[in-house]
Symmetry: C2
Subunit: 333 residues, 2 copies
């Protein structure tokens, strides 16, 4: 199993990417192919020969930054670590691709270079979203801002297969993000999707109201990419603002200051629990080969975890099962 | 000035509605017309004669509950306090209508009974949303789940006039809720709306990312009613979940328990600040006469505040200014 790493993507690249990959080499039975500036990558490769033997480098002199326009960058920056890495994935040189780089570019590259699984209308970005004491797969978190009911139905199918086979959740529950719980609530897209999901063989548990997004039973939360991105970012913003303001309120009084000191550890625990960026990478589901988006601020541990996730993705045969299900047409009519 | 009150709408009706209205009669130069069960309303009317002289009652034997389907309830429950109250508003018997009842029914009644201002495509529910240390008008918070760019452009116009004349904010800033800050980000609706807003005479400050919804400069946050409702409810859910979990985390250790006790007041202050339900009613903008939706759990003080808000709405002549602006066509092309 050969995982292709975008060595230049992310806030801590290439150091965290290379170091995390080496940690993964020590722990898992994988090979690593780095795509990126060979010279810079080699700086961090003073390691044992037996590990070095499991590493390849595709030299790529250019880098796609967060300031680049996604589609344009994928088309024009042919010598970038991302484009070269994705081309290698497409050509079968490796089995999965991991990047902590420009999210939009990863999505565009996934679509235009790696390509969709036959029968899949749109690939979908699916991070694990902290939901109560567990996690739900939020689909779509931003890959498709304008959706049709069939797209959302396919997201639910892919998400169910992923949760069942990668996270080993039996008969995973699908919820539809909506502005009310009863059938008939919401906009046209959500209404029509409700009907498709109800008729499907998936374990559809109905609408999930936005106020219950942190406290519901769904393993998969389905919505279009605009709403999903709003949910993800709002959640991030509210948690961080709330923690900040809490601090301000607490520091206003001496009593509060002492109290704040005493609850510091509890707060840190809570913040970590709600931080979705801590929980590995987000797979881009529906592509011919696994593409995993690691968080931009990934450290070496997060990178190692993303590689672990790619390995489980590949081992579990998610893509093969998706193909079988689509051929069977079980969910698709 | 005669404010028509839905005496039977809300969790604490009719008591809180009648008592809040009496408080308003003592403080403001208004008349009150109650729509509802006369017998029940009269239970709370053991008051001075000079106040009684400023009260009328429209007897209505039926009530629209939160379980009723909005459109159906407005059509069928002709003898409900809400339908009778709105009809009285339409017929010019009063100047504004306040209800803490079924939100969907208020929206339907506003549209079908009271009617739109000429030139306005869709009325819009516009609560004050806690935004940093200030408030923004969130429009639309759920009245229109499927929108066109022109609707959103009109929301922005109405919101600007409301904030300028009711909340006395000079040259109010309009922000567009989006999944990125640059022009060109987001779905088709938001993209096309961006162009309209940029060309308008409004003080458009661009896209506001969901993560910055609690910390931005906009006085008006524009989005479709589906996204707006998700934002409002998610915010409510996250704040309440977070406070709950914080409590759980804190109670896990003795140190935390003492700390928690010491910060209790600070937490209460913060929670109140973020509770949008505390901040009066939400106007339904774009109707021929003001309709104000008070929070379902309103107590008598909240009801008094909603009446105060109706009074300012009427005094400020918002509707007249909206009509003038539309006639002028300044924002509408």
């Amino acid at each position: 199993m050969n995982i292709i790493m975008d060595a230049m993507g992310g806030d801590n690249a290439p150091e965290a990417i290379v170091k995390g990959s080496i940690e993964a080499l020590r722990e898992y039975d994988v090979k690593i192919t780095f795509s990126g500036k060979e010279e810079e990558i080699k700086k961090y490769l003073n390691i044992e020969k037996n590990l070095l033997n499991r590493i390849e480098i595709i030299n790529a002199e250019d880098v796609i930054t967060n300031e680049d326009k996604p589609v344009k960058a994928i088309r024009k920056k042919k010598d970038s670590s991302m484009v070269k890495g994705m081309n290698a994935l497409k050509d079968g040189f490796g089995d999965a691709f991991v990047s902590a780089g420009n999210t939009g570019a990863i999505l565009s590259g996934g679509l235009f270079i790696v390509g969709r699984l036959p029968g899949i209308e749109r690939p979908c970005l699916a991070p694990l979203f902290p939901n109560g004491e567990r996690f739900s797969l939020l689909m779509d978190a931003g890959a498709n801002v304008d959706c049709k009911p069939l797209f959302l139905n396919q997201f639910a199918l892919m998400g169910s297969i992923y949760m069942e086979n990668v996270l080993k959740i039996e008969n995973p529950k699908v919820g539809l993000i909506n502005i009310g719980t009863e059938e008939g609530k919401g906009n046209k897209l959500v209404n029509d999707t409700f009907k498709l999901l109800k008729e499907s063989e998936l374990n559809f548990i109905g609408n999930i109201e936005a106020r219950d997004i942190l406290s519901n039973d769904a393993d998969i939360l389905v919505c279009d990419g605009f709403v999903g991105n709003v949910v993800l970012k709002l959640m991030e913003g509210v948690v961080s603002e709330l923690m900040g303001r809490m601090k301000n309120e607490i520091l206003k009084t001496t009593k509060g200051k002492i109290g704040g000191y005493l609850i510091k550890d509890s707060m840190k625990r809570l913040k970590d629990k709600l931080d979705y960026s801590e929980h590995g990478g987000a797979p881009l589901l529906g592509l011919k080969a696994p593409v995993i988006k690691a968080h931009g601020s990934s450290d070496s541990t997060a990178i190692k975890n993303a590689i672990r996730q790619s390995k489980i993705f590949l081992d579990s045969g998610v893509n093969e099962i998706i193909k079988e299900e689509l051929d069977r047409g079980g969910n698709d009519n």
